[in-house]
């Protein structure tokens, strides 16, 4: 009501002397809006600029030291004082750990997502609580997973190994994967499950239909978690160990790319540090490819959606 009164009152107060005051007021408002918009553009510029700056500084520093030998060979004798060799051990180790952990995470995540989207009553206490738990787990930092994985490892009598690394990274990846897939399943039209139920399908059969509907999102979610798994250092620091050879069984320790960067960057020798920059380029390129592939598959596979 008060708004109305002001609105109707306004013309009455607009005497001839107030015209310029009102005009300057209008100018002030316009100026403020313009400045705000300028500030917004600047802030957006800072954010995109920082992305470009990160990529540029990594690539410009690392590219000169990047060689074919780095990608295709394992560390040779004297590698850590600047002699020949590469970081194939870390590349392979990282890929093993990421593949293993994402596969393990899928075994837990898919059933959980199906349960809360197809089986349980929507918005029941259990569903809301499960979502909350995964949201919270998503926020738990990887160093805590690392420390927990380490205690678990000690309790089970494992030593630092590929297996322990996979297990710990899987713990970190499960919330990421589950939340990403849940987002996709939530988007499935409710008419879809209504239709399957009205045709007499069971919940299991409906779940299969929902799975097919969400394929593109699932692939994107898998690639997202793979990227997160391959780039994380704090989880594998305690659990996967580090070795110069390529692991041949689950019980052996495994080197990882982030740790290869981290350890070599701490070296006093310039050539070793340069190799750390080159390794950072390799990791960044892998992550970018995964990220772009996620976007590509997300678009391509969604052609078959209802």
């Amino acid at each position: 009501m008060s708004h109305l009164r002001i609105a109707t009152g306004a013309p009455g107060t607009a005497g001839p002397g107030l015209g310029s005051a009102r005009q300057s007021n209008r100018r002030r408002r316009k100026l403020e809006a313009g400045m705000a918009k300028g500030l917004m553009l600047t802030c957006t510029g800072i954010i995109t600029g920082s992305l470009l700056l990160i990529l540029w500084s990594i690539v410009s520093k690392g590219l000169p030291s990047l060689s074919w030998e780095m990608i295709t060979s394992i560390p040779g004798g004297g590698f850590y004082i600047g002699k020949g060799g590469g970081i194939l051990n870390a590349i392979i180790g990282s890929i093993y750990i990421s593949l293993g952990s994402v596969a393990l995470a899928l075994l837990v995540s898919v059933p959980v997502v199906l349960y809360i989207n197809a089986y349980a009553q929507s918005h029941s206490v259990l569903v809301n609580f499960t979502r909350l738990v995964f949201d919270v787990l998503f926020g738990i930092p990887s160093i805590v997973y690392g420390a927990f994985g380490f205690t678990l490892m000690v309790a089970l009598g494992l030593r630092a190994s590929l297996w322990a690394g996979i297990l710990t990274v899987a713990l970190m990846v499960i919330p990421i994967l589950t939340r990403a897939m849940d987002e996709v399943f939530k988007l499935a039209p409710p008419e879809l499950s209504d239709a399957t139920y009205s045709l007499g399908a069971t919940r299991w059969e409906t779940a299969k239909v929902l799975l097919r509907q969400s394929v593109s999102g699932i692939v994107t979610a898998i690639l997202l978690s793979f990227g997160r798994a391959i780039g994380d250092a704090a989880t594998v620091l305690f659990t996967a160990g580090y070795t110069d050879s390529i692991p041949t069984s689950l019980g052996q320790p495994a080197a990882t790319l982030p740790l290869a960067i981290f350890f070599q960057l701490g070296s006093p020798i310039a050539e070793v540090r340069n190799r750390a920059y080159a390794a950072a380029v390799i990791l960044t390129v892998i992550v970018l490819i995964i990220s772009l592939a996620g976007k590509y598959f997300g678009k391509r596979l969604s052609r078959y959606k209802v």
């Binding site: 809006a33 990594i58 959980v112 349960y115 909350l132 998503f138 970018l288």
Partner: protein, 300 residues
């Protein structure tokens, strides 16, 4: 068994299996908390937890484990990250949600996703290459301070960039939950777009903005590798933002190798992990509950 029985059997068994997997993973949260608590028991049984947190004496060989320097280092870096990151993210999120045309939006959002996909170690390398010299050679001399560049401020800047994507994504969700009718009403009363943002959008989203800030705060608090690389890792109480600090996660990550040779050292580090877990758990649970409520609220 008839076909129908098989179908029903499959349905029932999958339901049971999935439910148990679901409950099992909820149980993992409890397991992490209890596991870290048990592992740190040797130290909190012997020394009071208040003393551990508020003492600044860290001498593992003498059995003295005071966390104050580490905790204050963590808080300072986190605080700086949010101070720098929040205004920039907020303005940018407003631009993307209210101003940007569809085409610009569809370029900006993937870029922000790309930023969130960059591994922490790469942020660390970038920090060492770019921000450390910036702080050490440009910013510190300008403010009359002497700094190696490995400082709380460096950590704060790197973390601020790391929390941009998280903040923007959540803020966009929060803004989306503001009903269009409210904004339309404001515009039709003659307010311009910025005034509508200021008086309607931001005011309406205040709880969501606070929740997003707490989430970003907890993300910054737990970040390890990047912070470890740029903060200098000197365990003293920081006097200025140009001093080196030693955040809690860096302490855990840096000492895992030699912690088994000193008694109680591993318990002290597990206690550090437990403190982080509890703090971040509470922050996350609180802000997620606020955000969920906002999203679910229906406006006429």
């Amino acid at each position: 068994m008839s076909y129908k029985q098989i179908r029903l059997w499959k349905d029932r068994w999958s339901a049971n299996l999935f439910l148990w997997l679901c409950l099992f993973f909820i149980f993992i949260v409890v397991l992490i908390g209890v596991g870290l608590l048990i592992k740190s028991a040797p130290i909190w049984k012997e020394q009071s937890i208040v003393h551990l947190i508020f003492s600044k004496e860290w001498k593992p060989f003498q059995g003295k484990f005071g966390f104050l320097a580490y905790i204050s280092g963590s808080l300072l870096v986190t605080f700086l990250a949010v101070i720098i990151g929040l205004p920039i993210s907020l303005m940018s999120a407003v631009y993307i949600s209210e101003y940007a045309p569809g085409r610009v939006r569809s370029i900006l959002l993937p870029l922000i996703d790309l930023l969130s996909g960059i591994p922490p170690i790469v942020y660390g390398v970038w920090g060492v290459l770019t921000i450390v010299p910036l702080v050490g050679q440009v910013l510190a001399p300008r403010f009359g301070a002497v700094s190696s560049g490995y400082s709380a401020l460096t950590g704060g800047i790197v973390l601020a960039v790391m929390i941009f994507p998280l903040l923007i994504r959540i803020l966009l969700d929060v803004f989306e939950a503001v009903p269009a009718g409210l904004k339309d009403a404001s515009l039709s009363l003659g307010a311009n777009q910025w005034e509508t943002v200021k008086h309607v959008l931001l005011k309406r989203s205040a709880p969501g903005i606070i929740a997003a800030t707490i989430l970003a705060l907890s993300r910054a608090l737990g970040e390890t590798i990047a912070v470890l690389m740029v903060c200098g890792n000197i365990a003293v109480l920081p006097r200025s933002i140009f001093d080196s600090v030693y955040p809690l996660p860096a302490l855990i990550a840096n000492n895992y190798g030699d912690m088994l040779s000193i008694p109680q050292y591993d318990a002290a580090l597990m206690l550090a992990a437990f403190i982080l877990f509890v703090l971040i758990f509470l922050c996350n649970a609180l802000s997620r509950m606020v955000l969920n409520r906002l999203e679910r609220r229906d406006y006429a």
